[in-house]
């Protein structure tokens, strides 16, 4: 395999225990050549951040499936800044809000929370891979 791509922390935030997508994301990112650090389901913001600190991650991919993603993601960017993760990329995907809402609105709200990218339901992880390569000039 060619040289390793940067480290990405992945996991499912909050009280959310949907595990299947998380495993799939781990497999695909690893196959693509990224170093993957998986904090798993039911993870707090602090767990994502601590993992990113120790592993020198360049991005955090947060999954939220159960509909409470917005609440769970509030304050994440501020905590990253507090911890010295100034340039870390924050992406979020899954079913990040309850029901079917206009995604443009949803996206705006997540951008204002400090997320670099937010994905509508059903977006495959490949979209994230494409974008991280753009955002990190890989």
């Amino acid at each position: 395999m060619e040289i390793k791509l940067p480290t990405i922390v992945i996991g499912v935030i909050g009280a959310d225990c949907h595990a299947v997508g998380n495993k799939i994301i781990e497999t695909i990112l690893t196959e693509e050549g990224f170093s993957v650090v998986n904090v798993g389901v039911l993870s707090t913001q602090e767990e994502f951040i601590n993992a990113a600190l120790e592993t020198d991650a360049k991005a955090i991919f947060i999954s939220s499936l159960y509909g409470h993603g917005e609440m769970d993601c509030e304050g994440m960017r501020e905590k990253c800044q507090e911890a010295g993760l100034d340039d870390i990329l924050l992406y979020v995907g899954g079913n990040i809000v309850v029901g079917k809402q206009g995604f443009e609105e949803v996206e705006k709200r997540f951008v204002s929370l400090g997320f670099n990218r937010a994905y509508p339901p059903g977006t495959p992880i490949h979209a994230g891979i494409r974008d991280i390569k753009i955002d990190l000039n890989l």
Binding site: A15, L42, L53, D56
Partner: protein
Amino acid sequence: MENNLLLIDFGSTYTKLTAIDLINEEIIGTAKDITTVESDILEGYEKALSKLKEKIGCIDFGSHLACSSAAGGLKMIAIGLVPELTAEASKRAALGAGARVIKTYSFELSKREIEEIDSMKLDMILLSGGTDGGNKKCILHNAKLLSQIKNKIPIVVAGNKSALDEIEEILFNYPQVVFTENVMPKLNLINVEPVREEIRKLFFERIIEAKGINKTKSFIENIILPTPAAVLEAAKILAMGSENEEGLGSIIIVDIGGATTDIHSIGKGDPTLDSVNLKGLEEPFAKRTVEGDLGMRYSALSLYEAADKKDIKKYLSGVEVLKECEFRHNTIDFVPLSEHDFKVDEGLAKLATHYSMNRHVGRIETLYTPIGMVMNQIGKDTLEFDYMIGTGGVIVHSKNPESILSAGIFSESEPDILKPKNPKFIIDNHYILSAMGLLAQKYPTSALRMMKKYLKNI
């Protein structure tokens, strides 16, 4: 195989000798005298030896094995990056090596902290930070600052492997640096054994000399372990068994001293409850924790301060607890004589057991979320552990040792604290655990069989 062995424990107060008949797997005799570090550590040893000879006559010993916690023990600090991750992993590794961890540092150190470290009279520093391939910045920064300390005490580096080359350059002129495997190579994965190994080697090679214990080297072939590490080694062999002899299963050792209470647990501690989610840094299979504020004499006052009013009432009703604790704090060589003294000591021992167990074992954290309750387990689940073993003067000399150990078992009033529910109790009434840990380094099966013979089931 040799016939007789002499096991020596250079303790903080006493130098204790245990003579072993290896063929019959018997204790021939024991003796002790005051440890003499200021003058020559051999003085106390010789005195104890002549006491031993009075008891058992002149016997030839094949080997002499020793452990030591004299001169303040092995004083260390642990340095990591994130407090809950590499800093905690380093602390656990150092404790398991038998060290006294004076302080744990995290993130990039400041000049102030370096000055503090320099003034601490340490024996060793453990430097970690970053997973393999992970953060390098922090450990490099800390190595740079450490390279400037005046007291060039040995540094064990157990951090991000990708930073080792640079650290080696930074510490090129530093006299004593040892590199070993990362204490947390991957997130939440703990790797304590290589670090423990290096700490113990350094302890033997360098620390002993610094403390004037090398004088014994000529005839004591090895001061192989810090005393607490010897106890942990005994616990390991007792739990896991040796090649030819089965162990007891999962065990916990409660060791109550005057200044600290140590808990050792051997066992994985995976969840036994349904639908809990295991969280946080992995636990070492053989884990030691030390509570510096829970003890029978020097730490009696801090024990009082740490304890809950309702627990004090439960274990020490009708006692003027504060007064008794102050007295013990000020009279560290106090020996109980009256029934009242014993009763108070027993009550304090129960408090020490209760709190040190609560801090050692894992707990269930219940989160109330938008979709209901979620239960996380943090730390070891010891609910189903097989044995609890008591050692230390207050337990060994107590008429009711089981009541002291009982203060450390699971209670419905603290259902989230995962202490053993129904363990069998054992008392180390011959005080042999550290000696057996030493013996196990050479003859594990003999050590195990002797422990089975001499430890008392209650």
